[in-house]
């Protein structure tokens, strides 16, 4: 996975995770629109017929989508809802589709009872194929997107070319965004155990981003050693620790990473160099263990 891909996949994962309820439908429509262009018909332009059990239609593949994104999937609610949606779709749109897709935002697949229901429905309706789409299916759709579409959606990604051009000025801009805190009391200095990425259960794309940052971490180190104020590194570290503490426990590690990215880099879509400078600074403090959890000794 190259740097650009890793960056966008991470963005995609975070967007997927944050999309709940109606926002998930928006997310889905946006993704499908980018991936299939005019071939995909979102349900909304279909007039004011309300939700006629159709959250999108892929013309060329005769596929109908039903989006389902509750905050949690309760069996008692999910089963009747799915049944009702499927039947409605069959009545209203039966002529148009050969395939019905149940799109959900579950990160760990579907509960067994839901899967069972899908199989039953398929058996009962010959000629109609039923599928369920979650994070991984949508990831495959996401991978169809062109670079232009990705930039439209998520802005510039750091690139290998940017890596070669990265300089102090880029680092300085990033550090100046981060509020400095007073020089902390003397912190204990301990070795960093091995296996930190794994210990924090970070995704493949986040791992790739961290590695890209690590390759540039010496630039941050050098910056601190030359900066007129010798304590800057410590003071920024203190800000990172405080920020991390505020996020910890409220989000998953991958989400925390995304939050920190925004906190460090800002919400605006910067240049590839800016994005990479953000990663370099984050990797520096990740390595020094000011943010994220240490691996337990036995994992080394």
């Amino acid at each position: 996975m190259n740097l650009q891909q890793a960056f966008y996949e991470h963005k995609f994962e975070i967007a997927f995770l944050r999309a709940r309820g109606d926002a998930f439908q928006d997310f889905f429509e946006r993704l499908m629109g980018f991936a299939y262009k005019a071939d995909f018909m979102a349900c909304r332009p279909w007039g004011n017929r309300g939700d006629r059990k159709n959250d999108g239609f892929l013309r060329s593949e005769r596929r109908l989508f039903q989006v389902y994104a509750p905050n949690e999937m309760k069996e008692s609610v999910a089963i009747p809802k799915i049944r009702e949606d499927f039947e409605g779709a069959r009545i209203h749109w039966g002529v148009y589709f050969d395939e019905w897709v149940f799109v959900h935002n579950g990160t760990d697949g579907l509960p067994p009872h839901v899967q069972k229901l899908i199989l039953e429905l398929e058996k009962a309706n010959t000629g109609i194929k039923l599928e369920t789409w979650g994070l991984e299916e949508l990831r495959l759709v996401f991978r169809r997107l062109s670079t232009d579409d990705l930039q439209l959606w998520f802005g510039f990604a750091p690139t290998d070319e940017a890596r070669a051009r990265l300089g102090f000025r880029d680092i300085q801009v990033v550090l100046e965004r981060i509020g400095e805190q007073a020089v902390p009391f003397v912190q204990p200095v301990r070795d960093v155990p091995m296996g930190k990425i794994k210990a924090n259960a970070l995704s493949e794309s986040v791992a790739a981003l961290l590695k890209a940052g690590m390759a540039k971490a010496p630039l941050v180190d050098e910056f601190y050693s030359r900066w007129h104020d010798a304590t800057l590194g410590e003071r920024i570290a203190q800000s990172f620790r405080t920020k991390y503490e505020s996020l910890r426990g409220r989000f998953s590690p991958n989400e925390i990473f995304a939050e920190l990215q925004v906190w460090v880099g800002g919400d605006d879509q910067g240049t590839p160099e800016h994005q990479l400078a953000v990663l370099a600074v984050m990797a520096y403090y990740f390595e020094s263990c000011d943010i994220f959890e240490e691996a337990r000794g036995d994992e080394s």
């Binding site: 020089v183 003397v186 912190q187 200095v189 050098e222 601190y224 050693s225 030359r226 007129h228 010798a230 304590t231 590194g233 410590e234 920024i236 570290a237 020094s288 000011d290």
Partner: protein, 82 residues
């Protein structure tokens, strides 16, 4: 500041700078003369990416005073004899 830390390199720790100052005080010298020597040495040493800054030098001197390692005598810096 006094001691090195994760984000403060050993070179920039005041205690380390203090060692350099003490090593230049084989005989009493003016503050300026010590600064000149240390500074020149720092510039000559190619490997050192972090030339000593004057404020750090002053802070290190302060530390040495506080510890009682040096004293100012008629405008000259000198080591305290144990």
């Amino acid at each position: 500041m006094i001691l090195p830390s994760k984000h403060l390199s050993q070179d920039r720790a005041l205690l380390t700078v203090g060692v350099g100052i003490l090593q230049h005080l084989g005989q009493p010298k003016t503050v300026s003369a010590v600064w000149e020597e240390l500074h020149r040495r720092g510039e000559e040493a190619q490997h050192s990416a972090t030339p000593l800054k004057f404020d750090q030098f002053i802070l290190a001197l302060d530390l040495l005073f506080l510890m009682g390692a040096v004293q100012l005598d008629e405008g000259l810096l000198r080591r305290k004899k144990p």
